[in-house]
Symmetry: C2
Subunit: 205 residues, 2 copies
């Protein structure tokens, strides 16, 4: 891991300082240029470190964006695991992953939604994560027609659920067990997963 002096601030002494410098530079750049307009290379330059160090500490650009929020759970790892086995049963895995992660951190998620949606900037990190990370990951895991539209409607269902359960706290949803929610909501989400028309062939022989 070679570290070169970049054009931004000079490299700081220890690992903790360098990690902080990278997150600070990433926050500014994502806020100013959005997810699409930011690159690991430019963020590294701003932080005064080599680009390979950014990947070493934080992974890819999506992971770095999520890291700027310093969340108690890693949504990327959760989603990657939930979609790994393909469309069959994906809704149940996605919803269980979501609820088991955030039911324990309701206040954090509620604050994320409140502050994220309150901002009228489309570069706000929560909006960017919903749009450029979560929707993209789900879309890649779907098959058939209209994957992007179906993925964005899946995210709609999850954001709406979080809003009513954690932010507005509508009863009985706020106090319902995750099992009750899963039972009702999974078929509604699985419909969006299966609606692409590319089902596995039936037993034709």
């Amino acid at each position: 891991m070679v570290e070169r002096r970049g054009r931004g601030r000079p490299p700081t002494g220890d690992v903790a300082d360098r990690r902080t410098a990278i997150l600070d530079a990433a926050r500014s750049m994502f806020a100013a240029k959005g997810f699409g307009g930011s690159s690991l290379r430019a963020i590294a330059r701003e932080a005064g470190v080599d680009a390979s160090l950014v990947s070493h500490y934080y992974g890819d650009k999506s992971q770095l964006l999520v890291a700027t929020l310093q969340l108690p759970v890693d949504p990327i790892a959760k989603i990657a695991s939930a979609v790994a086995d393909g469309p069959d049963g994906m809704a149940e895995r996605v919803l269980r992953a979501f609820l088991s992660s955030w039911d324990q951190h309701r206040d954090v998620f509620s604050t994320l939604i409140r502050t994220g949606l309150a901002s009228d900037s489309s570069q706000e990190p929560v909006s960017q994560i919903a749009r450029d990370v979560v929707t993209t990951m789900l879309s890649s895991a779907l098959v058939g027609e209209g994957r992007e539209l179906r993925a964005s409607l899946m995210v709609s269902q999850v954001i709406g659920l979080a809003t009513m359960r954690y932010v507005v706290q509508v009863e009985p949803l706020a106090s319902a067990s995750s099992e009750e929610v899963v039972q009702l909501y999974v078929p509604a989400m699985q419909h969006l997963i299966d609606a692409g028309g590319a089902r596995s062939p039936g037993p034709s022989i």
Copy 2:
């Protein structure tokens, strides 16, 4: 319509002034005491008018709460009409009513969501409407078990859709035709309507 002098501010001269006084009093009381803790009688007293005048101008308590927001469409009338014919096909009527109302007023709805969710008060009017008006109306229109939970999940789907389409503006959802959205999202919502187990009997004879 007899008007009596209330304990609050003295009755004002013309209809426009009285209507404004009622809305001002309603906004303060809903904010201070919530939907459940407010009454038309107390609001009338605060506005210095007779309670019958409040009903005459604004209808019932739900309608008065909605009136305080001065929206370009009347959600109560839209929902009442969408649920009037019962559970069969209700999801399609609800979604079409929602999209035809708000697609024309995206900015208004986006601002409602932003300001509504940004507030951390559970007495904030948008949260109260989601919880005490919309969820209650949908719940009353459902049949079978778990009506309240299913209604709150229907509202989750609608709020999530509005958030992704109007606030975060995720593509292709933001630009999709309402017809495309209806086609994919209706079966997902109708599942919640039909999940109560109280279906009409099959052709048993």
